[in-house]
Amino acid sequence: MTAVIQTQKLSKWYGNVLGLSDVTLQIEPGITGLLGPNGAGKSTFLKLITGQIKPNIGKVSINGQRVWNNYSLFSQVGFCPEQDSFYEEMTGWQFVTNLLKLHHFRPDEIENKAEKALEIVELSNDKDRVIRSYSRGMRQRLKFAQAIAHDPNIIILDEPLNGLDPLGRRKIIRLIKEYKSEGRTIVVSSHVLPEIEAMTKKIILIHQGKIFAQGDIHYIRDLIETHPHIVSIKCSHPRLLAEKFIHQDFVSKVYFDPKKNALLVETNNRDTFFALLPSLFVENKIDVEEITSPDDNLQAVFDYLIGK
């Protein structure tokens, strides 16, 4: 398959701070997930491939054309930025239609495309409200709408699921998958592994400005599986639950957090642990108040992998 987005030895510094270092990539049609903890360089990479910033070293091209100051390229690119910034005094409708005007569509085309995009993100009923009055989720959906309204072949999404409720997330994920089936190229960034996992198997792991790993999600999953995982459980009988866990091979440590009044369980097989958990609650008639994973974030995984 031909690469749509290509980078060669791409590097970017912000003064003395390294943003991205020596990134050579080829992104083909389909969904590519860009995964990394906050500050890893994901946004820098997306800004470089959308021509918002210039590389210090290296080249970036879309369909073989340079990106920086090549504005004609953007008729086929849609970009959803991470920052929550808008022309606050505009209504949702004005925002989308005015941005569509910059694509030089006819007035009737603008109306049709704006209506379609706002309908897709379920903002049709609120399109005449000023953006300032929108909730966080609505603002996020509006950003998505402006990125897809002109029907681009290449869609670049920087943390598109931030601030969305579970239903909103599912809807956007479904949409992204639909775009993939239409043969478009989609690049999605996130710092949440399950989000990326729900969209694609093709991922790029980025950390401290460098490509840490790339390929199939199963490879990354295998790496993560071996990472000891701590789960915090607040329930009615923590000591009884601790007793049940202590006999399991996949549990390496069980201890209590007196401050939070929680049971902490360290496991090296997260999937088996979570598969067993509901049955333990039911069989022992334990009421659950809260289950959290203090180290269930990508940074912890990266720290573990790098340390390894």
Binding site: N69, Y71, F79, Q83, Y87, M90, Q94, K101
Partner: protein, 258 residues
């Protein structure tokens, strides 16, 4: 050309709605309120009436020429690029098939037109109120037209200059205030050719050389340029600074801070 037209329509819609525009509309109408007060005091006072056109001329010189058009051009001109950077909305414009020059020119035109409308409305209403008794005098309308044209040229020129300043400097407002109320207000009174390094010199060259008003000292100039030269210079300054702003905005890298 089409890109510029689309950018103009985008920002003309937006700018009409922002709070800044409402505040500046109010500011440009302050002389109208003043004119009403003056007119009422003339009607109810027994003292000798001062000619309306005399007060109008002083108002144009003291308020519009030396203050309002500078403030409007400063705040709108610098915001052509700075509001996109500070509001982090630049991304929405630069990921469209429009050149960066079209963004600058389109925003410049929409802001200049808007500020000209604001100023013209204030000037026309002040004129009508102050000259209520002499509205049949045709020569007064010539003065009105001339003043509106000079203020329009002033806005065109200053806004282009401040658009350039906004693309090059981060703290453009501070520099603009120093330029407007320092350089422009001081250098214009220097003898010789030094005064020709100000924009206001060319604007004042388009106004009559003598004034009998209380603020006649503000019109003081040693060597007024001819009308042709003054108009040429104002158009040249506008074109040069706008071209520089486009060039800089195209090639400069703006990093939106997270």
């Amino acid at each position: 050309m089409r890109s510029v037209k689309d950018v103009i329509s985008f920002f003309f819609v937006l700018t009409k709605k922002v709070r800044k525009t409402k505040i500046f509309f109010f500011l440009s109408f302050l002389p109208v309120f003043m004119a009403f007060i003056v007119k009422f005091s003339q009607i109810f006072s027994l003292s000798r009436n001062i000619e309306g056109i005399y007060i109008f001329n002083n108002m144009i010189m003291a308020f519009y020429m030396q203050f309002l058009i500078l403030i409007l051009a400063l705040f709108y001109g610098t915001s052509v690029s700075s509001e996109e950077l500070e509001g982090k909305t630049l991304t929405y414009l630069t990921t469209r098939p429009v050149s960066k020059s079209a963004i600058i020119i389109g925003k410049y035109i929409s802001y200049t037109v808007l500020t000209i409308i604001m100023t013209t409305l204030g000037v026309v209403f002040s004129f009508l109120v102050l000259n209520l008794n002499d509205l049949h005098e045709l020569y007064l309308y010539k003065i009105l037209l001339r003043d509106v044209a000079v203020l329009g040229l002033g806005l065109m020129c200053y806004t282009a200059f401040f658009t350039f300043v906004g693309t090059i400097l981060k703290r453009s407002i501070m520099f603009g205030l120093i330029f407007s109320f320092g350089w422009e207000n001081v250098i214009q009174y220097f003898p010789g050719s030094t005064q020709k390094f100000t924009i206001v010199h060319y604007l004042k060259s388009l106004l009559p050389s003598s004034s009998t008003g209380r603020f006649s000292f503000l019109l003081f100039r040693l060597e007024p340029s001819s009308t042709g030269i003054a108009i040429f210079m104002l158009v040249l300054i506008s074109t040069v600074f706008l071209a520089l702003a486009c060039l800089l905005f195209t090639f400069k890298e703006y990093i939106l801070e997270d």
